[in-house]
Amino acid sequence: MKKIKITINDKPYEVDDGQTIMQAADKLGFRIPRLCYHPKLSIEGACRVCIVQVEGMRNYVASCAYPVSGGMKIQTNTEEIRQARRDIVELILDNHPEDCHTCERDGVCELQRLAHLTGMRHRHFEGEKKHYDKDLSSSSVVRDPNKCVLCGRCVRLCSEVQNVFALGHAHRGFRTVVVPAYNMPFKDSVCTACGQCINVCPTAAFVEKNFTQELYPKMGDTSLIKIAQVAPSVRAAIGEAFGLEPGRTMELQTVAALRRLGFDYVFDTQFSADLTIMEEASEFLERLQGKGKLPMITSCSSAWMKCVEQFHPDFLENISTCKSPMSMMGAIIRTYFAEKIKKRPEDIVSVAVMCCTAKKYEAARPELMVNGLPGVDMVITTREIAWMIKSAGIDFVNIKGENFDEPLGLSSGAGAIFGTTGGVMEAALRTAYELYTGETLMDIEIQDIRGLKGVKVGKVVMDGKEIRVAVAHGLGNASKLLDEVRRDPNKYHFIEIMGCPGGCVGGGGQPYAGSNSIPLDEECLKKRAEALYGLDRSKTIRRSHQNPDIQRIYKEFLGRPLSATAHRILHTHYQAKKPCGIIPRELQVR
């Protein structure tokens, strides 16, 4: 790379050619304030917050969009540019509601931080406020255009990363608004409920549908048995909501906190992840022997399931019939466990603590009902449960850890890694290999399918038969992978797809990026994933089929994998959907 000489704030530096002013400045330790910019998205240059002065230029330039060149003299922090930047932020804020103290993102708001950072201490302008109704139609995501600053990060993320294209800018000028096509309610749109718009939104224009206030009255009802289940990736990220570094595992503290909140039983979704593996690995082996279509594709990710139903119905037969671990746990709680504690299924409140907003949508799917009841009554995200813990005055960081409850609380290392991209595949192969060959798989860490590459491929050899697998995370990568399969249907035997970048650890319900981080930061995702891999390594049992409580539930209740009982309560089916505002497939794979 060619080196060029520039000056920033009168100091000389040598930097690589072919990058923007912002990129060069970032590497030199100058973090120019910014809003609409995100390194994973295309450059829009819409907000003008990142302006700098360049000698010889008549106007300020947006550093996110302007390339460096030899001899360039850049000023990032003069009185003049500070004033201009502050004015820009003030103008962005002048029609923003002044309701920080009642806003869901108070204290974790990027816009608040930006106003503070740029030194806004007065409001000079009093602009006209926006008056839109909130879109409360979706079971997962709430859209509040009054809080939108039109940075466009959600629009670009939904299009460029997820290839869902649910959102666009409509109308113009002051009336510009981010909406689904035809201004239709979110629930009718192509939105997959992945919640990544919430993660990238700098304000509360997108938040999850919050169920905490519905949960409290149930928690206070002594006639009900309150049961929580906790997804793997919640424990890998919840610490961040309490100011801890990403990657700190808070497994046992989460259990202790949930008990203090009043849950009678705290179960581990990792247990039902093991159960999923028993069913899914067995299903895969059946398909491998000719009973069913290959490649088999995983079905754990709720956003992915909505995506496949509406955009890729030609793959419905390839989708595993297994319910997700959350829904399997819900089904087991309503049947096996209700019977064990001699309670009526309807007297149980089944709450799932998830990293995910799409799980809220999944929980409400009618086809997942068990004997007329939903397996899961309510899904609470990592953010919501962190708030409940704080609000209840529980000292989460210092609390003494407690273990999950029996008999649905013991899990293998394979269950733990479900939360990261490649984890389900790795877990399934650990079991499928041993069920198929009857031998022990020596090398159980499958490095090829770990990490944050968009599409990963690997293979294992079972009794001389080569099994080719592929893993994609993020719906955009999923589309690319499926297109590859359309061209060559025999290329892979088994495919794992997760709707969110990084898998569940990067879910739409995870804690907001802190003041020193950015949404979807890869370093943060890696640390969360590493927390789960660490949990896996720390366990003596690392294969789902060796989990003694899994063996027990088959002995006492399910019989064997894919039995009639298992089929009745642990499996489901999916149907093609046609939402309004179609997205042509050709575009999906572009």
């Binding site: 409509a170 909406v179 096509a181 035809y182 309004c580 997205i583 050709e586 575009l587």
Partner: protein, 163 residues
């Protein structure tokens, strides 16, 4: 000439097929929306869905373009479009009163269409015929030196023409 919807759809499809032969055909969206509006008089959701599927453009994006430009109608318009000039000269000469009279007579607000889809009421800025102020246009014909009485007569005569 009255065209059936099938004929219109075929013409729109042929138009898009021609455009698809060109490079970067997705950048021709505005031309396609113009064509659709020319055929249907407005841009309905089903027509925009059709364009999305054929041209490979997300509907959310099409909706963005269709709402950005005032020229595009998202709702069907009446047989006759009334545009009342609210430019300075007309305003001084009592355009507001003219507008009020039409609103009252047709029982619709600006931007709305009568239930029988006969009249659509719009406002416009200077039409360049200030000597005739206050003026309005109905379709492509200018009516000048308006009074409330005259406006009602014009509306009635158009309505009778219909009968």
């Amino acid at each position: 000439m009255i065209q059936t919807d099938d004929v219109k759809l075929t013409e729109l499809k042929n138009f898009m097929a021609e455009i698809k032969k060109r490079e970067r055909s997705e950048s021709q969206l505005i031309a396609i929306l113009h064509k659709a509006q020319e055929l249907y008089g407005y841009l309905g959701n089903d027509v925009m869905d059709e364009i999305a599927a054929t041209m490979n453009i997300p509907t959310a994006h099409i909706w963005g373009v269709a709402t950005f430009y005032h020229y595009f109608n998202l709702k069907p318009k009446g047989k006759h479009v009334i545009s009342v000039c609210l430019g300075t000269a007309c305003y001084v000469k009592g355009a507001a009163q003219i507008l009020e009279t039409i609103k009252k007579e047709l029982k619709i607000a600006i931007g709305e269409t009568t239930q029988d889809r006969f009249f659509t009421l719009e406002e416009t800025r200077c039409l360049g015929t200030c000597g005739l102020a206050p003026v309005m246009m109905i379709d492509d014909k200018v009516y000048g030196n308006l009074t409330s009485k005259k406006v009602v007569e014009i509306l009635h005569s158009l309505a009778h023409e219909h009968e």
